[in-house]
Amino acid sequence: MLSSGLGLRSVAQKRSFGLSVLTTAMASLMFSENNRLASKMESGKLHYEDSNSRFDKMLTEATFKRRAPEYPSHVPLYNVEKFMMFVGSGIGAYFHPERNEFIVGLGESTAIKPVLRRLQKQMLSDPVGRQILKERPRMTSTSLDLDYLKSLPPNTIGNTYVKWLEKEGVSPDTRVPVRYIDDAELAYIYQRYRECHDFYHSITGLPIIIEGEIAVKVFEFMNIGMPMSGLGALFAPFHLKKHQMERLYSIYYPWAIKCGLNSKPLINVYWENILEEDLDVFRKKMCIEQPPDLRAMRKLYFAAKKAAKN
């Protein structure tokens, strides 16, 4: 018997020894060099190299690789790239604030994680905010039925919004989708902020001229805290004429700062559900005051100037 030949070896060890020898022998026969090459030849990978597979190899050889995107339009940028985007779009936005690509670039590069996380916490600690994050409503030109809004009574939010759109001559165009913010939920929060911008205009009545935009930006910054609006509030007035700056600094900045800080968080407003609400009730609830009508003030100023000349 083998046991006598191998001394004190147990039966179990003997059995596993035999099994391992058998396995090794079988495997070395099945996976020998010739057999492996034969399998490769059978599956067509040995002799024939198609150009597509060569291009695929080239692809994996690339030294520059991006992380996988987290949502459909996502472009995961490295921090260096985000910084370069900030610098480039910052310079561009200062000299050409009317060009959308600079505002988009500046906004997304300055909306850093701490800012968005704070907003996320703010939304999660409010029941309506939680509902918004769960349902993730998007404002498209189809989701807001403009004809229905026009039919609403005059002092409702929806009707005010539509009237403001017509007065300023703009449409609720689809805002550019967010691309450079990592993390899908934070990207949604930023997208929501971008899409609600027109509502902030309409409930305060501020027009789309540069003074109005700056006033809304200050209001937004005090309430929501997006760095881009703060940068706009700081640097944008340098482009303005003296009378515009005076008006802004004396009336609209104090209003925006006071109102933005006093009012409840605007990011937690589910606009689509309150379109039929009365505007004054809403403003009282949110502690928002109406600023003086900017277009009317400008008219008065230009009329006074003309009168003074004559």
Binding site: M58, A62, V80, S89, G105
Partner: protein, 295 residues
């Protein structure tokens, strides 16, 4: 927007999902089901032409501004060197003028550069120039430039044709003396077909000259080049031209282009004689000039 067009057109057809051997049994027309690369994406072969046309329609209006911004003006040096090396023009005392063909030359910078060189160096004012491009918007830019240039002097030497470089139906066989293509051939769906067509339209003794982005051998330079092209170029496209996707496609298509030796072999396969050393690298291989002669 480009991304929406890409999403609509870049859908994989179900047959393309099958493994390769099953695909040949699954459909009658195998050719149509083949897929090819569009940058790093995989698209149907028949869609690639439309997608490329879409990209160039988007970039046509600031094409030259973007070229200058992206290469810091170096592309002008490349193109000058390309034209000087070709040194094409009807020599004084020659009997027949030359027929130039500039393919994918929409905005016309190579075309006008060639005519300039010929007239300055050889006093050639009778050679003809045909500018062919698959994209009508690029061609329109070229026509605008032509109208404003000095070549628009009534001699009608310059013609603009909207042609697909792989077939070029409007250009008869053996009718051209010089075929140039600068930064265009990487966008062809079937590069070999483009080379074969180039062979067809050239007369014996005609020269095929291609200036194209190529591969950098030096790994240090390559790393810097890739970081630049994938990091900065799409950002420039986003900020200057408001179009990140087209420039992302452009840098990806550069990676997908065959290496210098492979491309030389493709030129040889089309029937050209490729004089040694086969290609000339410019700027470490960022761009490269390939020349072939039809004997």
């Amino acid at each position: 927007m480009l991304s929406r067009t890409l999403l609509r057109m870049g859908r994989q057809r179900p047959a393309a999902m099958l493994p390769s051997f099953a695909r040949s049994y699954a459909s009658s027309s195998n050719k149509k089901d083949d897929t090819t690369h569009f940058g790093y994406r995989t698209v149907n072969t028949e869609d690639k032409e439309k997608l490329v046309r879409g990209v160039f329609s988007l970039v046509a209006s600031n094409y030259d501004v973007m070229n200058d911004a992206m290469s810091f003006g170096v592309h002008r040096l490349w193109k000058h060197h390309f034209i000087n090396r070709l040194d094409a023009g009807m020599r004084p005392g020659a009997l027949k003028p030359l027929d130039f063909l500039d393919v994918a030359g929409g905005t016309g910078d190579i075309a006008f550069g060639l005519l300039d060189h010929a007239s300055k160096n050889f006093g050639d004012v009778s050679s003809t120039m045909t500018v062919a491009d698959i994209n009508p918007d690029m061609l329109a830019e070229g026509k605008v430039r032509y109208e404003a240039s000095k070549w628009n002097d009534g001699s009608n030497r310059v013609t603009f044709l909207e042609q697909n470089g792989e077939t070029m139906d409007a250009i008869p066989d053996a009718s051209k003396d010089v075929y140039t293509i600068a930064f265009g051939i990487r966008n062809f769906t079937n590069i070999q077909a483009g080379l074969n067509t180039a062979y067809r339209v050239l007369r014996p003794g005609g020269v095929f000259a291609c200036l194209e982005f190529s591969h950098v051998d030096n790994p240090v330079v390559d790393y810097a080049y890739q970081a630049y092209s994938f990091g900065l170029l799409p950002l420039m496209g986003q900020l200057i031209a408001n179009d990140r996707d087209s420039y992302q496609y452009l840098v990806e298509s550069i990676r997908r282009f065959p290496k210098q030796d492979d491309f030389s072999s493709m030129i040889k396969k089309a029937g050209f004689y490729v004089p040694e050393p086969g290609y000339e690298n410019l700027t470490f291989g960022v761009a490269s000039i390939h020349i072939g002669v039809k004997l």
